[in-house]
Amino acid sequence: MSLPDVLAGIIFLALNAYALLGGADFGGGVWDLMARGPRKERQRELIADAIGPVWEANHVWLILAVVLLFTAFPPAFARLGTLLHIPLSLVLIGIVLRGSAFTFWRYGSHGDEEQRHWGVTFAVASLITPLLLGTTAGAIAAGAVGDGGATREGFYGTYVAPWLTPFTLSVGLFALIAFAFLAAVYLTFEASERELREDFRRRALGAGVALFVAAALALFLSRAHAPLVRDALIFAAWAVPLHLLTGAAALAALAALWFRRWRLARVAAAAQVSLILWGWALSQHPYILPPDLTIAAAAAPAVTLRLALGALALGAVVLLPSLYYLFRVFKGSRRPVVPHDA
């Protein structure tokens, strides 16, 4: 594996972490929007409590991916910013609204009408942002960010049409459902009351089934719109083992939910979504932006890559224990509360 490959892999790993953690925060917003039944308010409380302490940290995975991308692969970053200006700007608006609305909602005054407006803004932004993020990812897979050259004409043809296709939208839908699925699975684990658990178990099972449908739809549409990725996903040597693994993880997640093995469900669902992401990454290797820009061609000089790798190693020494601590404090088994004079 070459140095550029290693860095591309790390960037993708950061995106993977963002999908599993930040994605679930978005998914939480979706369930906030769809909260109903007698425990509506308690569902919302659970979601907010689950997101509160960690969303900033979860969000930084995206930033890490972005800064590493422009450090290690500047031409790819420049091209993404140019051709996907519109969807990325919309993603940003979604991120801004979601993050700030969540905080205003949590920290504003409590229990009034205004509070609920922020809740709604948070939830709607949580719905739209994953759709657009998925669409952007779909556009990359479909080769829309390739060097289209003279084939693109006019504003619409250059800046809109490439990323607005049935395939990209189906990937958007897939991302939305995947995030909602993850969130529901995690919430079954975090809820401390039985009824709330059951609420989210039902939602998780539903989302898990919907995820199958969305994946099938995206695969079907990829025939016409993303041939490169599709061919690899079907014919490459790694394709069959990967599909088997993904399928096994998916079934394990659903079975674990069914039998109420919450911890196992969490692991299996995370594995399922990660495997799907890595399937995408492998299928477009060695291209960073198919169909023409390879990882090697987009890479910054070796010295930059080596330094970035060094910084990553150094950062990991600080970060991983800190992250572990954060999740242990807030996401571990529910320890008795320590009063602060302890």
Partner: protein
């Protein structure tokens, strides 16, 4: 609106918005930690209350800082793909380090804000320290990236391409030290005075309120020394400019002609047609003295380069004057308060001092904005000084006025809401009757678990 202007305006608006929250994110954690530490040492619950109230405000501001910063990191590619393509490999390094600093900051902020009842007191204080340190570090790293745009090094330019890239040398660029020092001090000065100002205006109505008295003390402790040091560090910046970015200094001083023994112009308006600065108060030899510490030194004027390489002189000059005037004011007020405190006067009853501090509430932030206008506008028409023109860095996408207006509206909306939320918190705080006239006799172990 031309696309280039729209892109520049969008970048400017985004940065001007973000910098407010960034500055607060650097300095507020320090103040929270000081308050919490005092609580732990003295046992006075008032400090705990203070730390918690500040933390609550900081949580709101930090979230807005995080999302607006995210917008910025994308905007580098959305608006300036040419710049990023050229510069990414060279200055990606500080940005990556900044990424790690953000990570640490976000992790420990989560622990700090939500962990009051979950971890030990000592661990909680250390979480606060980690937030304060990583906040300052992230500011330093990003300013190093900006300093490189002003004083690019660490590569060779061969037919428009950067070769022999050396990211470490790029980080050690000539502007890095003066800019990071000046920016970090600015963060403490601006935030310290903003917080001090708010509490001072409340003390004007109620000088006995112990809550505001303690808050004022801590805010001045953080803001005061920084404000006194700021003119000295600004002088360092100006001397850097004189050597490395003479056009920016000439624009800041509205010095049209190169001359030895150049005077310092205070105020005045650059008349671009006549190429001279009107209505300025001139201090003979002042500029030569400031820039080179030698009254006879020659200072380059705008005539050293052709007019199409001039920045917008009136804007840069005005911004510079505003920053220096505000900086002088803050330093004087800080010294005044320092003298009184040294003589053990009761600051809260010094009505004129309280008025002066109250007036200073927004001034540090204005100085920060003005200073960045000097730096960024003064670098034009270059995005990388002497290497890449801004117009060659902009995205080819047309219609940029639409995103510019959209993001501007979004920021206006957010700004109004943040101000409103904070205002509600602040008007609520003096109504805390339990702290009125509460002078806290020493030693009393009044611990407060409540007030969550």
């Amino acid at each position: 609106m031309p696309d280039l202007l729209a892109a520049r305006s969008q970048m400017g608006v985004s940065l001007a918005f973000h910098i407010v929250f960034a500055v607060i994110g650097i300095a507020m954690p320090l103040m929270m930690v000081v308050a919490e530490r005092r609580w732990q040492v003295t046992g006075h619950a008032i400090y705990l209350d203070l730390a918690k109230r500040w933390a609550k405000g900081t949580a709101i501001l930090f979230a807005v800082g995080a999302v607006s910063g995210t917008v910025l990191s994308f905007e580098l590619g959305l608006l300036w793909p040419g710049f990023m393509q050229f510069a990414g490999a060279i200055i990606g390094m500080p940005f990556s380090l900044e990424g790690f600093a953000f990570f640490t900051e976000a992790i420990f902020l989560g622990i700090y804000l939500y962990g009051w009842d979950r971890i030990s007191r000592r661990a909680h204080l250390w979480a606060g320290v980690a937030v304060a340190v990583s906040g300052a570090a992230s500011g330093v790293f990003v300013v190093i990236a900006n300093a490189w745009m002003n004083a690019p090094t660490g590569f060779d330019l061969v037919t428009g391409q950067a070769v022999n890239v050396d990211p470490i040398a790029a980080m050690g660029n000539a502007a890095a030290l003066s800019q990071t020092l000046h920016m970090t001090l600015a963060a403490y000065a601006a935030t310290g005075f903003a917080v001090a100002g708010i509490h001072a205006s409340l003390l004007l109505k109620d000088p006995a309120n112990a809550f505001h008295r303690r808050a004022l003390g801590i805010a001045l402790l953080v803001g005061g020394p920084a404000a006194v040091l700021q003119p000295i560090s600004g002088d360092l910046s100006a001397r850097h400019l004189a050597v490395h970015q003479p056009v920016k200094l000439a624009a800041a001083e509205a010095l049209f002609r190169t001359r030895a023994g150049a005077p310092l112009s205070l105020g005045g308006w650059p008349d671009m047609a006549a190429r001279q600065t009107r209505f300025a108060v001139e201090i003979p030899y002042g500029l030569s003295l400031l820039a080179f510490h030698d009254p006879r030194a020659e200072v380059l004027g705008l005539d050293a380069v052709s007019p199409d390489e001039w920045p917008n002189v009136p804007a840069v000059h005005l911004s510079f004057q505003v920053m220096v005037a505000l900086g002088t004011y803050l330093a004087v007020v800080a010294l005044w308060a320092g003298c009184l405190a040294w003589r053990r006067a009761d600051l809260a009853h010094q009505r004129w001092l309280m008025r002066a501090i109250a007036l200073a509430t927004p001034l540090g932030f204005l100085a920060v904005e003005a200073g960045w206008m000097v730096t960024e506008l003064g670098r034009q028409p270059w995005v990388i000084y002497g290497v890449l023109k801004t117009r060659d860095a902009v995205t080819p996408m047309p219609g940029l006025v639409v995103p510019f207006l959209t993001f501007t509206l979004l920021y206006c909306f957010l700004g109004v809401i943040v101000v409103w939320l904070l205002y509600r918190q602040i008007i609520r705080s003096p109504a805390v009757p339990e702290w009125r006239g509460f002078y806290m006799p020493g030693g009393g172990k009044r611990d407060a678990g409540g007030q969550a």
